[in-house]
Amino acid sequence: MSSRNIVGAVFFVIIAVFLFFSALLIHPFGEFNEDNNPEMDQYIIDNAQNQTGADNSVTSVVFDYRGFDTLGEATVLFTAVAGVILLFRRLKK
């Protein structure tokens, strides 16, 4: 058994234990929780339709309330495209 396999096994065990305990700590689905800042959710549910005019609250959050975040996502996609074209330019011949 090589040292590379031992290191891989140790990291596998660490990640598996971490994922197992984080799965135990997850919140129950749909349960009301004080720590999740429910005021912001309630504000968006109440005011999104009148403030942005969109029926889809998710779109109103993504493109209006958090439009700057969507700009970052678009930048990530643009960078990915530029990187792929730059990386594979030699193999095109």
Partner: protein, 163 residues
Amino acid sequence: MMSRIVKTISNIAFPIVTIYGLYVIAHGHLTPGGGFQGGAVVASGCAMVLVAYGSVWTMRKVKEKHLSILESLGAIGFIGLGFIGILLVFFYSSSDGNFFQNFLLKQDVIPIFNEIGKGLSNINTAGVLPLMNFAVGLKVIAGLFVIVLVMAYATRLKGEKQK
């Protein structure tokens, strides 16, 4: 480059997938979905054609330069719609001009997308959000397709026929 069966099925399925993706983009402010999701649907349809017909054929039909121009147009449209919100401060001297300001909503000068949605049937709502959906959708279609196309063309088999 696959068999005739795969080509025929992809010929039938490609318009349906494309129309569905464009529907998801166009109704992004009414129903679940939006620019990213609909663009991913259309790009996966294009990837199906790429798998069926081979990368050499697809690269001869669609140039990656044109797809890059489309993606840049989507990005410029998205950022430009954000900056028009700032320009409102100079033109109308209104106090609520911000980056990504929803400037088309609640005004009567430009009669498109200026109503407030009160149901899922009115598409003429939500101000600047549908335009941003279109810009992001164009960007995602061109971006994902050019990624798949360039990677497939670069890693093609050397013995593949160049016909």
